[in-house]
């Protein structure tokens, strides 16, 4: 049995997202599990030459590019049209892997509504079933349960960032082919981006970070929140916050982790002064290791944490920052 895998890479502002490399590595593993096939990397956007150069060395057998000024901004219907151009070039049986970024999530189901097949979002494991069907495992109910989906037709899967390893041995020099975008349907026209406000350029992207350090109500004030940021800096971590912090206006909404904020799955999540309301927990449940520092020994976060410190975040934070800046 063979399986061809098209990876739709995600890039923003000329930078390839790491989750795209994770998807390319997983595509190679999946083709291996299926017993052979091609890995085709697809690039959609504008001004992609530099990224195409990076992608062709990450192990695909071919790179297909739709580079068009009408794709400068992310309009899902336009990107789905471009994806359609790529899909036509890859023979069945086909699986499409997309990073589960905001862009990837939106794109996956629009493509499926165009070409048929099936979708699994935010998958954490992918395999090939007994009948050659693609099988995806994903977390549901805020990480409290898992479901395993058997996918029919073209299997379109978004990959949860940080859930799949980047293969360090991946290399190559795949040919790059450019494809025309062609006409866009009316639904793909008219989106205008007025501005993109970068959220804290000096901290890592929350959803892709390996380590996230977060603060909550227990930080007591906007000024104290600097302690969280100091620790994040020495750890090379991204900074998160609970809803209480956002509602108090201590930090911007873009830092919010949880149901109305971001869902994250870092290797290490450290929560300072966060009690662990269910709305927060659903956003962090997929983290590999959770550490909670809270004064209240009955705080619900201790039930899901791997390590806990019953104590004041305001004294533990500087101690950790100091300890970690001493040693390399």
């Amino acid at each position: 049995m063979t399986l061809n895998v098209l990876v739709l890479t995600d890039q923003r502002g000329g930078q390839l997202k790491r989750s795209s490399l994770e998807a390319l590595s997983e595509a190679r593993r999946l083709v291996g599990k299926a017993g052979g096939g091609q890995v085709v990397a697809g690039l959609i956007g504008q001004g992609l030459d530099k990224i195409a150069d990076e992608v062709k060395r990450a192990g695909p057998s071919k790179v297909l590019v739709v580079d068009d000024e009408r794709l400068k901004w992310f309009c899902v219907a336009a990107y789905a049209t471009a994806a359609h151009r790529l899909i036509e070039k890859v023979p069945a049986p086909l699986a499409i892997l997309v990073p589960d970024t905001t862009l990837g999530r939106e794109l996956a189901s629009r493509i499926c509504a165009q070409v048929g097949g099936s979708v699994a979002t935010a998958a954490t494991e992918i395999s090939v079933g007994a009948q050659g069907e693609v099988v995806a495992k994903r977390k549901v109910f805020g990480g409290r349960a898992t479901e395993t989906l058997g996918l029919k037709g073209i299997a379109i899967i978004t990959l949860r960032p940080n859930a799949f390893a980047v293969d360090p041995a991946a290399q190559g020099d795949a040919p790059v082919e450019k494809l025309p975008l062609g006409d866009l349907p009316p639904a793909a026209q008219g989106l205008i981006v007025e501005s993109v406000v970068s959220t804290k350029g000096d901290t890592a992207d929350l959803t892709e970070a390996n380590i996230v350090v977060s603060g909550g109500r227990g930080m007591k004030s906007a000024e104290n929140f600097v302690l969280v940021e100091n620790l994040a800096k020495v750890m090379g971590a991204a900074v998160g916050a609970s809803r209480a912090v956002i509602d108090s206006g201590w930090r911007p909404e873009s830092m919010q982790v949880g149901q109305t904020g971001k869902t994250i799955a870092p290797q290490l999540y450290i929560a300072f002064g966060i009690s662990g309301a269910i709305q927060h927990l659903v956003g962090i449940n997929n983290s590999r290791c959770i550490v909670a520092v809270n004064k209240d020994p009955a705080a619900p976060i201790f039930k899901v944490a791997d390590y806990g410190v019953v104590g004041d975040a305001l004294t533990i934070l500087p101690a950790m920052t100091q300890a970690l800046s001493k040693k390399p």
Binding site: V76, V140, P185, L191, I192, V282, A305, D306, Q322
Partner: protein, 267 residues
């Protein structure tokens, strides 16, 4: 300007889950259901806020699910929605989110819909597929993960915001359109008692699933699910935190860092 809001009746996020005998879903017996999915509740609020601020026409809610979903739709009526429609599925019916999108598209095509609004995902299956798929099935633009929107009737455009990885995008686009909402501008309103009573008299139409499927025509994907749940499982609950203790903050910090490096191996 008429709005359609799609809502899903889902288990309360804190309810206890048991795997059903089929091994493919949860056992609904004894499960506490919320009146509506959190994201959908925020979406209903956003639709009603716009209706009040911009003098829209009707706001209609639609749900696909078993008869208990009526309770969720009644809650939207109590919040201020004008009319509700339930595509009623026979007990035990399993649909996948893409098929739900096609069912919704068939129903919404028959309603005035300048805006179709959905929550970004359901709290139970967390699929997040419906908004974007609906856009394609209705041949409309779709805008996802929106955190705030303002319509401009004169230019027939919506001004919106959303957080993409690493930045907040301020953008605009034409409508009619489908919007999937990350969060609204305001917290959802709590229905007042008079409004709850009034909601009982508001129209709630029920359409059998079979009737909608027969009208589906040849949408990509067809009338049966394309993704099958092979298994549904509950991982063992986490054991609870290992508590790190010490005399001073410095000692605690040292011990914690050591554990993260040597035991958990995450540093």
């Amino acid at each position: 300007m008429d709005v359609v809001v799609c809502v899903k009746h889902v288990p309360d996020p804190e309810t206890k889950l048991k795997v059903a005998a089929s091994g493919k879903t949860y056992d609904p017996d004894g499960v506490k259901f919320t009146i509506a999915n959190t994201y959908d509740e925020a979406t209903v609020e956003e639709a009603l806020r716009m209706k009040e601020e911009f003098h829209f026409g009707a706001v209609r809610s639609v749900s696909v699910g078993p008869s208990r979903s009526e309770e969720g739709l009644r809650a939207t009526l109590a919040m201020g929605v004008d009319e509700a429609t339930l595509v009623e599925t026979p007990p035990g019916t399993v649909l996948d989110p893409m098929l739900v999108s096609r069912i919704l598209a068939v129903v919404i095509k028959d309603m005035p819909h300048d805006l179709v609004m959905v929550g970004k995902q359901a709290q139970d299956d967390e699929a997040g597929e419906v908004g974007s798929a609906l856009g394609e099935y209705l041949q409309l633009p779709s805008y996802s993960f929106v955190t705030g929107l303002t319509p401009d009737a004169a230019s027939h455009r919506l001004k919106m915001r959303r957080y993409l990885e690493g930045g907040e995008e301020v953008f605009s686009g034409p409508f009619p359109a489908v919007i999937s909402l990350q969060k609204g501008v305001k917290d959802p309103r709590t229905p007042t008692l008079p409004n709850i009573l009034k909601a009982r008299k508001k129209p709630l139409k029920k359409i059998p699933l079979q009737e909608v499927l027969s009208k589906m025509g040849n949408m990509a994907g067809g009338t049966t699910p394309t993704s099958d749940i092979a298994s549904f499982a509950l991982p063992p609950p986490r054991a609870g935190a290992k508590i790190i203790e010490g005399q001073t903050p410095d000692e605690i910090a040292e011990k914690l860092i050591k554990a993260l490096k040597e035991e958990a191996k995450v540093l």
